[in-house]
Subunit: 717 residues, 2 copies
Amino acid sequence: MNFIRLIVILACALNVVTANAAIDWHEVVPGVWKGIVGTPEDYSLLSVADCKPNLDGFSRLPQVGLPALADKITGTVSDGKTSLSIPLVKNEQIYGFGLNFQNVHQRGKILNLHVDHFGGKDTGRNHAPVPFYVSSAGYGIFVNSARYLTVYAGSGARKDSPDAPVAKDRNTDRSWTSRPYSDAVSVLVPAPGAEIYLIAGPTPMDVVRRYNLLCGGGPLPPRWGLGFTQRTPTKYSADKVKNEADEFERMGYPLDFIGLEPGWQSKAYPCTFEWDSTRFADPQAFVADMLARKVRVNLWTNPYVSPDSKIYNEMYPLSGSHTVWCGIVPDLADENARRLWQDKLDREHIGIGVSGYKIDEVDGYDFYLWPDVATFPSGVSAEQMRQTYGLWVQKVTDDAFRKRNTRTFGLVRASNAGGNSYPYVLYNDNYNHEDFITALINSGFCGVLWTPEVRGSKSSEEWLRRIQSVVFSPMAMINAWSSGTKPWSFPDVAEQVKEYSLLRMRMMPYWYSEFARYHFDGIPPFRAMNLEPGFNPETAASTVMKSTSLDDDPYLEAVSKEIKDQYMAGEYLLVAPMFAGQTSRKVVLPAGDWYDFYTGEYVGNARTLEVTPGLDRIPVYVKDGAIIPMTDPLLHAPTKGEKYNLEIRHYGKKDGHYRLYDDDGETFDYEKGDYAWRDIKVERQKNGMLKGSISKVEKNKPNNIGKVTWRFMTENK
Amino acid sequence: MNFIRLIVILACALNVVTANAAIDWHEVVPGVWKGIVGTPEDYSLLSVADCKPNLDGFSRLPQVGLPALADKITGTVSDGKTSLSIPLVKNEQIYGFGLNFQNVHQRGKILNLHVDHFGGKDTGRNHAPVPFYVSSAGYGIFVNSARYLTVYAGSGARKDSPDAPVAKDRNTDRSWTSRPYSDAVSVLVPAPGAEIYLIAGPTPMDVVRRYNLLCGGGPLPPRWGLGFTQRTPTKYSADKVKNEADEFERMGYPLDFIGLEPGWQSKAYPCTFEWDSTRFADPQAFVADMLARKVRVNLWTNPYVSPDSKIYNEMYPLSGSHTVWCGIVPDLADENARRLWQDKLDREHIGIGVSGYKIDEVDGYDFYLWPDVATFPSGVSAEQMRQTYGLWVQKVTDDAFRKRNTRTFGLVRASNAGGNSYPYVLYNDNYNHEDFITALINSGFCGVLWTPEVRGSKSSEEWLRRIQSVVFSPMAMINAWSSGTKPWSFPDVAEQVKEYSLLRMRMMPYWYSEFARYHFDGIPPFRAMNLEPGFNPETAASTVMKSTSLDDDPYLEAVSKEIKDQYMAGEYLLVAPMFAGQTSRKVVLPAGDWYDFYTGEYVGNARTLEVTPGLDRIPVYVKDGAIIPMTDPLLHAPTKGEKYNLEIRHYGKKDGHYRLYDDDGETFDYEKGDYAWRDIKVERQKNGMLKGSISKVEKNKPNNIGKVTWRFMTENK
């Protein structure tokens, strides 16, 4: 025992200070370099996610060399922890660090990246505290650690910094600031080593693409996943759920999948994963009945196992030391625990046709989940398990569907780096429309999807405003299991709600292609304006107030330009949601001519609009030359092999080009090449008129397209 | 290098899991046992504070054996961290974990003990996150670690716990709770070992006393420290400060010391520690002029060294890697840095008669202080330095005064365990009167002092209510450097303010004796009702609402009885502050007869009063048999050798006994035995009348008492 103790002491002593060393970089995929500091842990975000880089996608990115700042990035191991320092220059802004709800600009923030529910402030504790950021200077940094990282995103100044701020006398100098300039991002990794990735651009969008492709690219949802979804009250029976689906059909509102809340289980919190026989006497028949209605079934669950579950006894030795709501916590780092849980889900749900899950409470908060003192049989620490549990539940369930060659699209409350390709959308208990939009923007910086879901509303105005936003998001969900609200519950806006719900369906060819771009090229379908070329709110907005101390504090300057209430949806659309109570808002247009989505009229170029769209409209603008492929106002997404018509819209005056994606919409056969990209072109003819064309489908490739019509929104009228 | 890496890996591997072992306890002082888990770090809270247990004080506590729960406390080293588990039983409540502002009952809380400003919620981040708690069952636990500790104060349940909560179905069982019962406190120490102390009672008060005595006992302030203090606007000159003191004298308001804010320094934030020559041309003469007025000088500072300070160059190599407001951070774990700073203060302030400091910004917050990636030449980590910096600045300055055999009493923004005997009072930027009272209550559980200071007020009502509270606190401070408010600024309550200011002065013999009890016996002068025998709000209050699920959730029951707006001041007084806007309040009286402080009238026994005291009065109640020694309404505390008269009050019907403490009031000669305890007795005579007596002073002991008068508040009228 003394020998062991000696070694520990010796190791600690040796570990105390390592020289502040530059990092040895090696390129792992094109434009992405990995550096090793100290002795990184084997258990990491990427090792859990086990994702394979999408190498094909990199081939469509520019060739780049190691960014110059590589030499200035340092890593040190001290006090058993690793600290990383990445330089910043003046006027540089940084984005990312996970699914933040309040800010897009991260420079100056201090964050503790910790998987948790969102507690009302951007502290780094959230549902996907991804340790990745992208700089406006066109590079990115990713730290592959499953620990609670502390990030000083340009806060704190070294006394020996070449760019150190200068001391001022607070007694007499009005330019004194409580937060002096900082020229570095510092990251503290509480482990004796870390893997750091330096990701090249040249543009910030290229950085984001490389990061997503490194992590396997975005998910390609089944086509139905992009339709409309509703969640029913927790104690609904099979008949009530079927009635609900029928009512949507009768009322003319689209519905592709319906979510059952905890009451479908015989016991919940903790869970049995078994159907409640009083409400669902014949689950197989129920699921089949729903599928016959073209409405798929999604099941709520959390992973904590009830003593009444048939897998409890077998799971007990494979679970952590502490319970959650008195349920045991499967040690999902253990293959046997994963298999046991997956088999249960497959046998009793997926095998009978259930299409997806809503996996709840894998995020936090501390009062609910296992404490940091918990232990797991695999030896993975409570902290590491907390950071990766969201990844594990996605992996286990996604893999179950994959084994049946059927895609899923579900909901999960936690994710992290590496989860980029899992077909899951994040959600939470917060219900602030503005925060939801900021989260949607930030989701594009961290490789996750986010839904600004609609639950209840205090007014018809709020109901419609929220519906308008959710239509332009990864998952068009009415999550009214608690409020019981239906799309038509507010009669004075029921028609507008229907119009937007159907618009979601009409835009399905566009959404599906944009998700394909996420998958194949790493381009997030929903993302910040900051990734858009020519976006400069400073020059665009004469109305943006200027800070008086801009010259002194470049950080302040950057903050003054933060835009967190408008975003890009796919290649061409700029969405500017309206919030209840607003009658007008400002919209910052990037450089280039922009057109109104609804009318095709020109609205401006590199300027700030003040718009008053009325309650019927969410402001949406379209780039010059945009091609938006649409279809009919279907009530359900086309199923495998079902043809759909195209209405191809063109906006503005420029020639246009769009690559339309198509496959069977349901299976993983696209991974074997069973997909088609079709070139849609709009070109100006000699007669001055615009004309559209669509390329033929290659031999043996899927083709689900029926009738094609053209609609020139700005010209040819 | 490979050999080193091998050792590190080997050590980490071996360190992963240690058996969940019972702890080997050994008694370090009477009733206090120390246990070692893993390999504790040398740098700890107690090693920094370097306090000597007050052994004499233990002799006046009951003899006790090792508490039975000792066997059930376990410690484990896993993942390089130490986790401690201490059992809880039903209906047990726990108190402490530092200077919390919102709650007294800590059971069920999750806290991250981290020195910081108070950010509006009790998260464990505060000015004194002391890792000590006391149980209502009559034992205490102290973890001597200078790390950021995570505490689950009865949250989280082990699956193998003998007292594990039982799973319930949320779908159908209304008694389901999101926070099931937990039968343990867990503490995560992020280090491969920890020292844990188990402190016996038998009563909770005995536990608190033992904890304080282990840490050297409370401070004995100079007599003037218990007088009134005011802080002047930051750019006041020497003349203006003198005028301010003269104005207090002329208006008839007491004043013992006056605080100068940053403007006394030539540069501040960061600091030179040097007098500003334009405002203070002759500091020595200024301080002497003030002392001639019987008003002492206290100087604001923070420890961050300006490049313009004459000690900057010498301090540079002795400072941390990162700056605070562009000032270097002295590595106070290094003796040379301590000496350099101390010499500066001694030479330029203490040596010319300055009496104390207000040491600011040693707490937080993260945006201001050094980041956790900072390093210090001593090898002490940024985390450890953050947890102990408040201790270091107290130690350096206290020691400077001690070398001149003169006591100080000052203000500091951060402390921690071990700082119990430093003559400093904590304060902060929060300004919520209710929170301030709760902090005052909690200060008594964690060995620190706290002032509910008065700054500005929105109304004369608030001004008076705050003054009334601060009079019954460790430091009677008007901290109006920003608002410029004077005690007489609200004319309609100026007389009441004067009355209470003078009451503070009249009660000085009581306050001074109660602080002596803190020093010699470890009894906090200001403390929770929960330490008072016979305090039971449940039986006292018919009006306290009962939770409907008391049977299911003992934690809820405990919370329902939390009292956080009344406290004990010294041996006999129960103070129940009124907050602006209140016209009435409830007061819970412990068992025993209680009397009104102002009238001597009987008010009740073990019951809840509803009181409507009017604006002129803060409700204060006195125990039966209480003896309160008072003096004349002086404007300044008696100086060394100055006699003061006694008015000895007796309350109620019981015989009384009080031990009055006396010494020179200014030096450390009391540590050599130069002090006197005098027995004051009130006994019922054969004629039924009460009669008082005071013992003679022993030979060669100090005696500053002049005329003695008796006042029987309840009887003999």
